[in-house]
Symmetry: none
Subunit: 328 residues, 3 copies
């Protein structure tokens, strides 16, 4: 377990452990489902049973993940996975997790086709009967949650995005949260400027892709000023909204805000902001026309005009200055 797998207190994230568990489950069930001749398949995760984290795992410990197939129905495989953590300095081992996962084999040629699962042998007849009971129970629960999910379509946040018309600012605006990890930071414990810029470009790219639903690439980035440092352990929110479109380009404004939530009582603050320009490309790499941004509020109109100003200024500068780029 490496520093990047854990929080600042050194506890490995539950998500890192869940990912290892699922990897083990996917390997053993894919191997089993391909053990008889016939069409090749990949086992897809259908369900994880409730799982408890029995004791924490720490940086520097070695994780042991072992998996066993405990039941097979005609079209599904039950896998039980145990996770042990071992401190190789003291020799101490602890059970950290036990999980039960259900997989379904999908044909590699046709992902909508579920293949048959080769049956396993049971040491006792009771094991098969208990497995069958677990199988029926989870099948029922899956049905119930499927219906519930059907009802629950987007009751939640960012509710406005759902009702927004295509090409409006609200339709494409996006934000993401990033928990700052050790690898994001300098020796001081501050986030590398490059890490911040990569996240900003990621959000800008999602805004651009949502707007024009094509392959998009970064064309330029306006000057970015880093006024406030971002510290290890803080959570940063990166938000992007489209401000302007020309025939062939889009301008996206990106903000980086920080919540220094664990260590200090400091307030959320704006750390960085910048304008990214994107273009839309065809499969052959040619620029495509960009749908015009629909502006609705006074603020959006003002920002559109500001963006237009920057666009025209850059265009003018380029015509004056631009020397042909020669290869070095």
């Amino acid at each position: 377990m490496r520093p990047d797998d854990a929080n600042i207190a050194g506890n490995v994230h539950g998500g890192t452990i869940l990912k290892m568990i699922e990897e083990a489950g996917a390997i053993i069930s894919t191997r089993h489902c391909n053990s008889q001749s016939g069409e090749h398949c990949v086992a897809a995760l259908a369900r994880v049973e409730r799982t408890d984290f029995l004791s924490p795992m720490c940086i520097g410990e070695v994780a042991h993940v072992s998996a066993e197939i405990t039941y097979t129905s005609k079209h599904s495989v039950e896998v039980q996975v145990n996770v042990l953590s071992e401190n190789i300095l003291t020799g101490a081992k602890r059970v950290t997790n036990r999980a039960t996962l259900w997989y379904v084999p999908l044909s590699l040629k046709n992902v909508d086709k579920v293949l048959e699962v080769p049956p396993i042998q049971y040491a006792w007849k009771e094991l098969e009967e208990e497995g069958k009971k677990r199988y029926e129970e989870q099948k029922l629960e899956r049905l119930v949650t499927k219906q519930r999910n059907g009802d629950l379509i987007f009751p939640v946040f960012n509710p406005d995005r759902q009702n927004k018309e295509p090409y409006t600012v609200g339709y494409s605006q996006s934000s993401l949260i990033h928990l700052v990890g050790p690898s994001d930071c300098t020796l001081h414990g501050f986030v590398h400027g490059g890490v911040t810029m990569k996240l900003m470009d990621e959000v800008a790219g999602i805004v651009a892709a949502r707007h024009c639903k094509t392959n998009i690439v970064t064309a330029s980035v306006d000057a970015i000023n880093f006024h406030e440092k971002l510290q290890k352990g803080c959570v940063i929110t990166i938000s992007g909204r489209m401000t302007f479109t020309s025939n062939k380009s889009m301008e996206i404004e990106v903000f980086v805000d920080a919540d220094p939530f664990v260590d200090e009582p400091k307030e959320r603050y704006r750390a960085v902001s910048a304008f990214f320009t994107y273009v839309s490309l065809s499969k052959e790499g040619k620029p495509l026309p960009v749908p015009q941004l629909v502006v609705e509020t006074e603020d959006e109109k003002r920002r559109f005009e500001d963006g237009k100003g920057r666009y025209l200024q850059t265009k003018a500068k380029r015509q004056v200055q631009m020397q042909p780029l020669t290869q070095q």
Copy 2:
């Protein structure tokens, strides 16, 4: 350049290139600022000038990033970085970027102390004068944007989160966006279940930390059903909100929604949902009391009661079934 550095069309993300540029800039300026005996420092990025992406870079190409110090003031360093992409199979090279970055040396012992920069030698006097002009220009612009940033505190989205009282549902709810990359996917091109669970745990952890502002760890995950596949190239939104708190635990509901934005005209759909339980730990690893969740709407009250039901049910089951865990 690796598959994960690029979008599905094979173009390297602008953000990946910006990150390499900044790494080169940080290395050369940190090295320069430590070249004279004295207090050790790390160069922190203060500003990146506007930069254009002159031509795309593709998976499999080799990026060459070269950096040069072009100006030094008393407390800052200007670095110019060039990026070339080389196709090592054909030998073709293209300039993809030129960028100018400004760094400030911060003392390793006291991050609020800016150290002095050793001066560089200029080949011609004009170079120094031009550099000085660039320095004055950027200084002025920095001042302007600093003031603008001051004004611009959170004019944007999720505006309600800002005005929410601590311990309400709205105060801690969080969401993140993830662009699915090749390494997230199976041979079919579908997202590994484990990758999805890791992201879900990440959001749940942020919600929990925002609520209680302490070190938090995953205690358990309720059964998760995977009804819908998540495909390569889609954007997934992972959202979490707190539903219930007991004395020592928090329950967070997490949703995963997918936007298949580039390839198909399909609508956004709910792919997975689950309940995560977190506990708050002191520095010594002891459980801390959790501040009670403040529920405001009828829906929040109903969800709180549902959560309480799940909590009591689990507690009862545990008292019946739980065998002491012996080390294996």
Copy 3:
């Protein structure tokens, strides 16, 4: 094995495999050296014996890495590691690597203190005697290369690469710079040997691809000695140049130099050097002829002759020793 572990043809990088091997070796030897009560330590990689890549590994395959301690001296541990690749769709398994590594236990409190290694039990007396012979041999070789490394200070490459003719040494020579981060390091804050080897293989692969402009794969790595530790926060420069070509193979010499730029006034130093052998493959995976290296200077001629000597020696050894590799 994920897309990012492999080249564009889908072959897993030799460096990725070396990194896994070293991780297994570090775990088993650290565990062994802490198995008796006393001061805690971390096993640091001192040497990797020459290793051949027996068959390629591909994206989607599962790698099995198993390690065994085969000899212990008072202050060092010999570990043998086997790597199998398994295609979980067809069930096919192949041996891809066998490697021998030497570790030295360094105290966690004082990294300059080498601790004593608990002795292992041998099934037969002959095993201990053979181990002792291997131990003496590698000790001698380590001494020799340590002196050679001392001489070889920085024949620095590069500025004129652009004007070099194809197939010359200067045309393909390459270097990369890496800023050491937390996830690259052990509990001591020193770079894992496996991380260094992965970077070395990356540079060697770029040199090989530039020379022959085809799909290339690692065929073998000569013994590597780790004389100097690389510390967190330092910048490492990895440089590679081609030394020799036979009809079907290329030999590339790789150097790792460290600049401890922030913490200490220490000079740049040579940390590791090694020879990598690459072959060129057609789309069907058949070996292709390699264009002959054009040597220009007296030094290049001498290195070519030295490389030829190593090539002929290895070929002769293989004809004597090579047992058919049977699948396990």
